[in-house]
């Protein structure tokens, strides 16, 4: 059993190769219990491949992977019972009724109940938690996209997982459902110390939910840290906005404090509606990914040069 602060996810030098193509080059990261990690990256960066290897659904080419103390390539059912998986899209069990399926799937976890973690989650309570109580007796194919997504999340956590994988969990949810989902994630980490690894394209969501953000580009982790830490990495790039005599001004600078000081020295009280915005996660993300991609292009170009020479 894991206790708070213990490493539950340990990945070192993970490589994945399909034929002659390396999809993952050298992925290294770890997560401690109760942490929420978000994996960001452009499409095709290797996010899903990484998650599938950790889930034990895909064999890796090389590297060391430790998930809840076991190698996912050889994880047994005991190990499986401690994981929760929510994939990008499910269409299964369309003829089943919502509550019926939740009760059925939950029952597989009963033999894995422990002193500390009671399994499974009570179906009615869980339906209430994800806001599906009124749809409990509906056939699953009659659910809307957002409701289906909430059911997927419910099934993912019905076994009270110690480690939860969420692949784009909020895709298709309306803003309200999304907010409720965020509250649910906070509840899971606060009350059950669940460790969560999620992918998303919603940078706001990433910033709100994660303790740490990993950016994956071109099969490598190019950044690992909290949203704050990441934006400080490309710090200096701040945006200063103000109005003077009813006119709007915007200026991007690396020395925002100095710039504002000079601004006031020059114009004094004529300055109004002053705003200094440090790079947002979106700016940070775009900059880092662009750097990584141009870096890769340079390497390719150099290799070409060497070849032609």
């Amino acid at each position: 059993m894991t206790t708070r602060g213990q490493t539950v996810l340990d990945v070192e030098g993970l490589r994945m190769r399909y034929g002659v193509n390396d999809v993952l080059h050298d992925v290294t990261f770890h997560a401690r219990q109760g942490e929420v990690l978000t994996l960001l990256g452009p499409n095709g960066a290797g996010k899903t491949t990484t998650i599938e290897i950790l889930e034990g659904f895909r064999m890796r080419s090389a590297g060391r992977v430790d998930v809840l103390g076991a190698d996912p390539a050889h994880g047994d059912e005991q190990w499986r019972a401690r994981l929760g998986v929510v994939l990008q899209s499910w269409r299964d069990h369309s003829k089943w009724r919502v509550r019926e399926l939740l009760v059925h799937l939950g029952a597989y976890f009963t033999p894995y109940s422990t002193e500390r973690i009671r399994r499974p989650w009570d179906a009615d309570e869980l339906l209430d938690t994800v806001g599906l109580t009124e749809h409990a007796d509906k056939r699953i194919r009659m659910l809307s996209g957002g409701q289906r997504r909430r059911l997927d999340v419910a099934i993912g956590i019905v076994g009270c997982p110690e480690l939860l994988f969420l692949d784009e969990p909020t895709a298709g949810m309306d803003p309200e459902a999304r907010r409720e989902f965020h509250d649910l994630i906070h509840r899971l980490t606060d009350s059950f110390e669940t460790t969560i690894l999620l992918t998303t394209h919603d940078l706001d969501e990433a910033e709100k939910l994660s303790d740490r953000i990993l950016i994956l580009a071109g099969g490598r982790i190019i950044a690992d840290g909290s949203a704050d830490e990441l934006s400080r990495r490309i710090a200096g790039e701040a945006e200063v906005r103000w109005t003077r005599d009813g006119q709007r001004f915007v200026h991007t600078t690396t020395e925002s404090t100095k710039f504002v000081y000079e601004l006031f020295q020059q114009y004094g009280e004529a300055i109004d509606e002053l705003e200094v915005r440090r790079a947002s996660l979106e700016d940070t993300y775009m900059t880092l990914v662009r750097q990584a991609e141009s870096g890769r292009t340079k390497v390719t170009a150099r290799t070409l040069e060497e070849v032609t020479r």
Binding site: E52, F57, R80, Q88, W90, D92, L105, Y108, P111, G159
Partner: protein
């Protein structure tokens, strides 16, 4: 897939019963269960005046038990294969894989669903059929016992093979080709006409496959002793039936776990997504 424990078996059973109930309460699936039995009943109705040259038996009396044998093959081979292929595509199998003991529970459930569906088909065929056709002798305990063991052995001979086919298919649509050889086997296996009226070499081919033996097993159960004259060697060939069906069962039980495991190993979120995209292209 080592060691089937009690909980998982019980859950698989529950799963099978839930899905059986679902398939009997929804129009599309119900039609699937009833289509063949009703087709055969209509055929029997039109055959009611045809009598065989040998034995003075009604043709319908021979066709009804043979058709029961055929339904075993349809349910076991095609039904099981189709379900696996469909549920691999829609992610049901992946869901099972993500659940502890889920794969075993899933398979137990499928066997229960398919076997239950078969029992429904058999009842739909046998009960009205016995009123349509004269000359059946299903009265004795022996007859029902024979019917029962042929049914069970027949499921063992076909279900695992069906699962093996299902796990080899890349999509439910590519499994359509399985229907052709099965129909071909039906045509040569003495289901709709006594096999003894076929050329010798075709008789030999038919006797390699399970459908002929499922048919003769059911005829042995339901026809009077006198009807044996239309069979090869004028015998119900019980030992041979057990032998050939048993051999197919062994083959299936050896192949199925290997192929199912291979299939399960390859399931992942992206493989399900890729199959779905392919399916969408076909639909479009």
């Amino acid at each position: 897939m080592n060691g089937l424990n009690g909980t998982v078996f019980r859950l698989g059973w529950a799963r099978g019963m839930i899905e059986l109930r679902q398939s009997l309460t929804n129009a599309q699936d119900l039609w699937g269960h009833l289509f063949w039995p009703i087709g055969i009943l209509v055929t029997l109705y039109f055959m009611r005046d045809t009598t065989l040259d040998v034995g003075g038996l009604q043709l319908g009396a021979m066709v009804l038990p043979s058709a029961l044998g055929m339904s075993i093959a349809f349910n076991g081979l095609v039904g099981m294969g189709q379900l696996l292929a469909v549920e691999r595509e829609d992610g049901t199998l992946l869901r099972a894989k993500a659940t502890p003991g889920g794969m075993q529970g899933y398979l137990v459930g499928k066997v229960v669903t398919v076997a239950g569906g078969l029992l429904v088909s058999v009842a739909v065929l046998l009960i009205p059929g016995s009123f349509l056709v004269d000359g059946l002798a299903p009265g004795s305990v022996g007859a029902w016992l024979t019917l029962a063991w042929v049914l069970v052995l027949g499921l063992f001979a076909t279900l695992p093979l069906g699962a093996a086919f299902g796990s080899l298919a890349s999509s439910p649509r590519s499994l359509g080709w399985l229907m052709l050889p099965v129909m071909g086997m039906v045509a040569i296996s003495g289901i709709f006409y006594p096999i003894t009226s076929m050329p010798d070499w075709l008789q030999w081919v038919a006797q390699v496959f399970p459908i002929y033996w499922l048919g003769i097993g059911m005829r042995a159960a339901l026809l009077p002793e006198a009807a044996v004259v239309v069979e090869i060697g004028e015998s119900w060939r019980t030992l041979e039936t057990v032998g050939v069906l048993g051999a197919w069962a062994v083959l299936g039980l050896v192949l199925a776990p290997i192929l199912l495991r291979r299939m399960a190993r390859r399931e992942s979120g992206s493989s399900v997504a890729a199959r779905r995209e392919k399916a969408m292209l076909v639909v479009r």
